[in-house]
């Protein structure tokens, strides 16, 4: 076949080059469309936030007339009426995000270790029950959730949100960890056991270090999940003391006279931690997400 193709090559060259050029031009055009598509809503956030008076988005302008960082400064200094609580709310959001991340990694890796390595429960049982939580949409579960939190004495408590987020994030985390753990030979555990290592030692010294990339992926996923959720926060937290940024944004949305430029500046600042986390841990992220699938 190769031999048959070779002689025809020189004659095809101009056509070949033309095709090449067409492909390159096409992919640059597609790249431009992708860039505009991805950035348009994000650019719109900046367009509104950079405008001191907050009218530009409704005046049909492509650039803000007098771009200024004044709104951002006012938010960071809490020097306007609508943003007096910014840092307090940000701290609450951060608290939820960090605790959900740590708890999901801990609870998820312990369970995945016991089920996948020790085989204390049948794996199919785990997959089945883990998926059970997705059978009823989270948007429906919020209604019984509010009542149950009252029974547990967790009304208007950051821990209610944390419990909900960890519960929803952990099943997915366990599944990803399960798949990734299959790449690690169980002979390692057996060897350690023969050498007299206890179960916690195998977990701490062998399992956790080898699983580090998958743990980073699962942690990032949990963090993005907690940061994405605003509805459980909005429904479960009531007092000003426990308000998070997500709740504040929702309150802005409900208020027709709300200053959109402040709202968008807060939204941009709020988006920074997950973006930073994701790009810092991106290498691991792809590993964890595709660990199960690519083997198929």
């Amino acid at each position: 076949m190769t031999a048959a193709l070779a002689p025809s090559r020189p004659g095809r060259r101009p056509l070949h080059r033309l095709r090449r050029l067409a492909i390159e031009t096409g992919s640059v055009a597609l790249g431009a469309v992708i860039a505009v598509w991805s950035l348009l809503p994000i650019y719109n956030m900046f367009l509104i936030a950079l405008d001191r008076f907050g009218h530009d988005e409704f005046s049909g302008r492509l650039w803000p007339l007098h771009p200024t960082l004044g709104v951002f400064v006012a938010v960071l200094r809490e020097s306007a009426d609508d943003v007096r609580q910014f840092w307090h709310q940000f701290a609450n959001s951060l608290f939820i995000g960090v605790v959900v991340t740590v708890a999901t990694v801990m609870v998820g890796s312990l369970a995945a270790f016991a089920i996948g390595r020790m085989r204390v429960v049948r794996e199919a049982t785990l997959t089945g029950t883990a998926l059970l939580i997705y059978a009823i949409p989270a948007s429906t579960l919020i209604i019984p959730f509010i009542r149950i939190m009252k029974i547990y004495g967790l009304s208007d408590n950051l821990w209610a949100v944390i419990a909900a987020d960890v519960t929803f994030a952990t099943p997915y985390a366990v599944l990803v960890l399960q798949y990734y753990a299959k790449l690690i030979p169980t002979e390692l555990d057996d060897a350690a056991r023969i050498d007299g290592a206890s179960i916690p030692q195998i977990y701490l010294r062998i399992y956790l270090p080898l699983m580090a990339p998958a743990l980073a992926a699962v942690g990032t996923y949990a963090m993005l999940y907690a940061w994405n959720d605003y509805f459980y926060q909005y429904m479960l937290l009531m007092s000003e003391r426990h308000t998070t940024i997500a709740v504040a944004l929702e309150q802005f949305f409900d208020d027709d006279d709300a200053p959109y430029n402040y709202m968008m500046a807060i939204a941009i600042l709020y988006s920074l931690p997950p973006i930073a986390t994701f790009y810092a841990l991106r290498r691991f992220m792809a590993t964890g997400l595709t660990a199960g699938g690519t083997k198929g």
Binding site: S27, I34, P41, I42, N44, I48, E57, F58, G60, V107, L110, A114, M118, R119, V120, A124, T127, G128, L131, L132, I133, Y134, A135, I136, P137, S139, T140, L141, I143, P144, I148, Y152, A163, A164, V166, T167, T170, P171, L175, K182, E187, Y230, F231, A246, L249, E250, F253, M264, A267, Y270, S271, P274, F278, A286, T290, G292, G293, T294, K295, G296
Partner: protein, 301 residues
Amino acid sequence: MNGMDSTLPLGRIAAAGRPRRRALHGSELAWSLAFVLPYAALFVAFAVYPILYALWMGARPSLYAALLDDPRYIRAAINTVVFAGLAVNLQMALALMLSGFFARPRRWIKLLLVIFLLPWTLPAAPAYLSFHWMLVTEQGLPDRLLAILFGIQGPFWLGSGPLALACDITASVWKWMPLWTLILLGGRMAIPQDLYDAAAIDGATAWQRFTRVTVPLLANLYLISALISAVWTFGDYTPVLFVSGGGPAFASAVVSTLGFSYAFDLSRPALGVAAGLSVLPVLLPILILLLRALRRTEVRL
């Protein structure tokens, strides 16, 4: 079930009568149970209990009769199927194509991927709010771009039910397509280059290489991704709640946003739960398919 056996080393299968579970004794069993305990406790307290509570709240048949009597519910049920059906298939088909584009070995394409992933990393509520402000007036960014590029006046985006629902679908695709592109890209990268080289030597065209090599090898990953995406999208209320607000007059509402409206605006929580539970006949088959697809992957591990 058989999948798990095949993942074990053959020696152990020969040695033990029941290869799936090595019997655990004494402290090993105690530790293993202790390790599962936090997960199990959390699951029972915050998943099983609320699910049973929801089933109990929505158990009365009269609730479903009330739902069917409400024309807004019929509309929302149709909208939910349209929303999830279009959003899932659009984002998966586009993700499959774009994963091929992002697999091209070019420096600028790697940089573009960083920008392309931004929507997924952005928190949902602020991103969808930005969509809302772009579309709610007739002078937003998309209108402006349409006027400059084509000299036409943009429509009143959120003024009619179908168009508002189309905006919600677009926003949902914008947010979630990057995730599936990344996953399918990972799947493509895992396909050995030799297979493509061999196909090329055999004279396969680019299209044949795609349909004969890429498609069969990505099929299971694509199916699992599409099913997970379907499960998430069916319950996802955020795009509808923020982009179109379910308006005008519930014309673009989906079952979950209508459920909120029943539960919190009309103070009929049981009816709200019933609305949410009414998607179960569609969601359960998807979950069963997903379970089977996941098991099939294990067999090939």
